[in-house]
């Protein structure tokens, strides 16, 4: 089926082809991977395989709807049609319902601080088609860490993996999410994310894209509560022939909310990448602070890199910033490294590795971290 994903919240010139992306996904034989039977640490309970209606009722109860909140004064906004918005949008939910993927619901009990990470380590073998959906409700004052790893061969096996994660953070909840994709060149990875953060909640998301030939990566976070905090660290390697499509929205509604999004990557040969990143300040989000930074290094005559960083503002008392460096290392940095006898090419490869290693440190599971670092080395050597 054809999906229209990763909508830009405010449209721009159509000829730039940035307003959304069309993705062909072969759903034939796609299965839902239930996590039934996972051993869960104390403080975490699960309800596996919830149906669409049940999930919808939970969304109602959580009051996650974001649609009509924006005063857009005659713009042409892409209102998110979802009850619980994600970065990729409604078509991703459509895909899940089409293949009959039910939602696994996890709950972190209020006040429980779960030190041990909950790990979903999935190995992808030949031509697998997998779709999964999770809703995680982090109770008031709870702490939890969620790790998702998808591993296949570097060549890939023509697999398609679709993952839809939604996190609801109650007051004071702290959630860390780490998603590591180590699929191969012939694989497709759809990674969708939605979150709502209540007062004083803290969400940290780390994502590493290491290998899949087609990556659709979306995230939307509604920072609804007072003083809620958000940190994204996203690293990707755009290998030869690959296509990466990213859409992240940080929506500031609560007062004194803070969000920082960092994207670091490299594109090789004829890799193509589209990055949409939006810092969206809604009315009355006084004292909000949103910061977004994108650094891309390009290696190859045929790379295509598109970047559209949006700052939307309907509140005066905010601070928003976006910065991007695209192309090469800064002259200053390059000079410094070169004074130590390292040539430009080596210096750049060194910087890409350093940036990705820096992100892989967020992986709290030693074995998976090692796997990711080895994958980084393998891919960089090959590229």
């Amino acid at each position: 089926m054809e999906l229209t994903l990763n909508h830009l919240p405010v449209l721009t010139w159509n000829h730039l082809k940035l307003n959304d992306v069309k993705a062909q996904v072969d759903t034939e034989g796609m299965t839902s991977s239930l996590r039934d039977g996972a051993v869960l640490p104390e403080g975490i309970s699960a309800r596996y395989g919830a149906g669409a209606e049940e999930v919808s009722n939970i969304y109602d109860k959580l009051d996650t709807k974001t649609a009509q909140e924006a005063f857009v004064a005659g713009k042409f906004p892409m209102y998110n049609e979802q009850k619980f918005a994600t970065g990729m949008g409604a078509d991703m939910d459509l895909l899940l319902s089409k293949v009959g993927a039910a939602t696994d619901i996890f709950e972190v009990a209020a006040g429980s601080r779960v030190a041990e990470p909950i790990i979903f380590d999935t190995e992808i073998t030949a031509e697998e088609k997998l779709a999964e959906a999770q809703l995680i409700c982090a109770g008031e004052g709870s702490e939890s860490t969620w790790v998702y790893a998808y591993t296949g061969s570097t060549e890939g096996s023509g697999a398609t993996v679709g993952s839809s994660l939604r996190f609801f953070l109650e007051k004071n909840a702290k959630v860390r999410v780490v998603i590591v994709q180590m699929l191969g060149g012939s694989d497709t990875f759809l990674t969708d994310f939605g979150a709502v953060g209540e007062a004083d909640s803290e969400l940290k998301v780390t994502k590493l894209s290491l290998g899949a030939g087609r990556v659709y990566d979306g995230l939307s976070h509604l920072q609804r509560g007072f003083r809620s905090e958000f940190l994204v660290r996203n690293g990707y390697l755009g290998l030869p022939g690959s296509y990466t499509d990213i859409n992240y929205n940080d929506i500031f509604v609560g007062k004194k909310t803070k969000g920082v999004m960092r994207f670091t990557g490299a594109l090789f040969d004829d890799a193509e990448k589209v990055f949409r990143g939006t810092v969206d300040f809604r009315k009355d989000a006084t004292g909000a602070n949103g910061d977004e930074q994108e650094d891309v290094l390009l290696f190859g005559d045929n790379v295509v890199n598109k970047t559209i960083p949006l700052i939307l503002g309907e509140e005066e008392d905010v601070e928003g910033r976006h910065a991007a460096t695209i192309g090469k290392l800064s002259d200053e940095m390059l000079f410094y490294i070169r004074t130590r006898g390292i040539d430009e090419k080596t210096a750049e490869a060194m910087m890409v590795r350093a940036a990705l290693y820096d992100i892989s440190r967020d992986i709290p599971v030693e074995e998976i971290k090692k796997r990711a670092d080895e994958r980084i080395d393998t891919l960089l050597e090959r590229a």
Binding site: N14, L16, G74, K75, D284, V303, N305, I311, E315, A324
Partner: protein
């Protein structure tokens, strides 16, 4: 080497000393001259083939131009309105008169300009400015130029500065034909097609090889007729090694029905030539300003845009620079101030094609009293543009929480042998800065106005002094919340 950073407040204060702020008088722009029916020829409202033919006839177009108009009309009818940007439902083409002109002909002496039109321009200080600091002046009133003059010494150097109609029907016809809507084809977008069909007025400038025009040329556009459109065409060719500064000013009185401005500016910058194009736009707040401006630079050519957008109800304005020649360079410096009832969508486009091309965008958006300002841009670096460097810097200042400010900058790169940097910021006037100025004895309102002027300083410092003063006037006017 690091540049000394001045305290912004001090910097503003120093500039304020240089630019004496006159008391702002709103009537400066909003006066209406009742057009007596017998003095003016007005095309009936709406847009049909018949009307386009009538305009063409009225203007004594050559045959090819009539064909061009009709073809454009066809494209216009087939092209949908943009689905992005401010809504233009309020614009009903059936209620816009595309052609209005005074029944008197264009003159080369100010004294011969009809009294009522002269009064209008006198109030705007146009002839005065010419005497003081301009190499040539054109003044368009509604659809046609009413006055055109160029200084003798400038004319003697071979510079051609005339109205489009004279150029089209005179000795420069071939030059016009070769360039007219080649850079902005009618297929570009709906309002480019509209322009192609009903354009009227505007200026033609040719600066011969190696000629450096020391003082600026200026065109002033005034749309006085109610419910009318202005569709002037500006075509400038700066030949190899030549240098020109062209200034464009626009204003209109406010009516309670929509007016439309869909002008088109085409700038050809030849090898090693330089053109600076400055605009202070202050259309009235019932104006739909759907304007298209584009420049193309050959090898080593330089285009500099300086743009202040203050007026209009709605604007779509993104001057674009096609850097075709190796080593060519473009700069865009712009400020947009959206006040009550305004939805201004402005920005710039840079297209890098030649090797080692460079571009800089530096813009400031300000919104207040429910105004909406959107900064929209695209920087495209083609595969051929090895060694290109581009930087985008856009700042937004929100003065209250009923307004809206969006930043929508796109960057597309198709080579790894180029460098693009981008930085955007949104924020408010810092309380500390206000406090700092107030501690030196300034009342709060003045302190705030001063800070806003300072924010827009990168643009005003690029303008000739009298225009910088006008811009500061406009800011002050907006700050008083008129």
């Amino acid at each position: 080497m690091s540049e000394m950073r001045k305290d912004p407040a001090i910097d503003i204060a120093e500039r304020e000393d240089k630019i004496i702020l006159n008391d702002v008088n709103r009537e400066l722009y909003d006066f209406i001259d009742e057009e007596r029916e017998e003095d003016f020829y007005r095309m009936e409202e709406g847009l049909t083939e018949e009307i386009v033919r009538q305009i063409s006839e009225e203007k004594h177009d050559p045959e090819w131009m009539l064909d061009f108009r009709l073809k454009s009309l066809e494209i216009y009818n087939q092209t949908p309105v943009p689905d992005w940007g401010p809504p233009i439902d309020g614009l009903d083409m059936d209620r816009i008169s595309t052609y209005v002109r005074s029944k008197s002909d264009m003159v080369g002496s100010w004294d011969e300009v009809p009294e009522d039109i002269k009064n209008a321009f006198d109030k705007l200080g146009i002839p005065e400015a010419e005497r003081e600091s301009l190499a040539g002046v054109g003044a368009q009133y509604d659809s046609e130029l009413v006055y055109h003059n160029v200084r003798e010494d400038v004319a003697a150097s071979g510079v051609i500065y005339t109205d489009m109609e004279s150029a089209l029907t005179g000795e420069y016809e071939e030059m016009v034909k070769e360039h007219f809507m080649k850079l902005v084809p009618p297929t570009d977008h709906k309002f480019a097609a509209l322009h192609g069909a009903v354009w009227s007025g505007g200026s033609f400038v040719y600066v011969p090889k190696g000629v450096k025009v020391e003082i600026p040329l200026q065109s002033y556009f005034r749309l006085n007729a109610k419910g009318a459109g202005q569709f002037e065409h500006t075509l400038i060719i700066v030949d190899e090694g030549a240098d020109l500064h062209f200034i464009e000013g626009c204003s209109a009185p406010k009516y309670n029905i929509a007016n439309l401005h869909a002008g088109c500016v085409e700038l050809y910058v030849r090898k090693n030539a330089k053109l600076r194009y400055s605009t202070i736009e202050n259309w009235s707040k019932n104006m739909y300003n759907l304007n298209t401006k584009r420049a193309i630079c050959e090898e080593g050519g330089i285009i500099e845009w300086v743009s202040g957008s203050f007026g209009s109800h709605e604007s779509y304005l993104y001057p674009s620079s096609v850097l075709k020649g190796d080593g060519s360079h473009a700069e865009f410096t712009g400020v947009t101030f959206a006040g009550r009832g305004q939805n201004l969508d402005t920005g710039a486009k840079m297209i890098h094609i030649g090797k080692n091309t460079t571009s800089f965008i530096d813009t400031k958006s300000i919104c207040k009293d429910g105004g909406i300002s959107t900064y929209r841009s695209s920087v495209v670096v083609a595969k051929s543009a090895e060694g290109a460097k581009a930087s985008v810097n856009c700042g937004s200042l929100m003065l209250d929480s009923i307004s809206r400010s969006d930043t929508v900058p796109a960057i597309e790169m198709r080579t790894d042998k180029a460098d693009v940097g981008h930085e955007a910021k949104i924020g408010r006037i810092s309380d500390e800065a206000v406090f700092y100025l107030m501690s030196r004895g300034l009342p709060e309102a003045e302190a705030r106005a001063m800070i806003v002027s300072g924010f827009a300083n990168p643009v005003s410092k690029e303008l000739p002094l009298e225009y910088a003063a006008e811009m500061n006037n406009l800011i002050k006017l907006e700050m008083e919340g008129g």
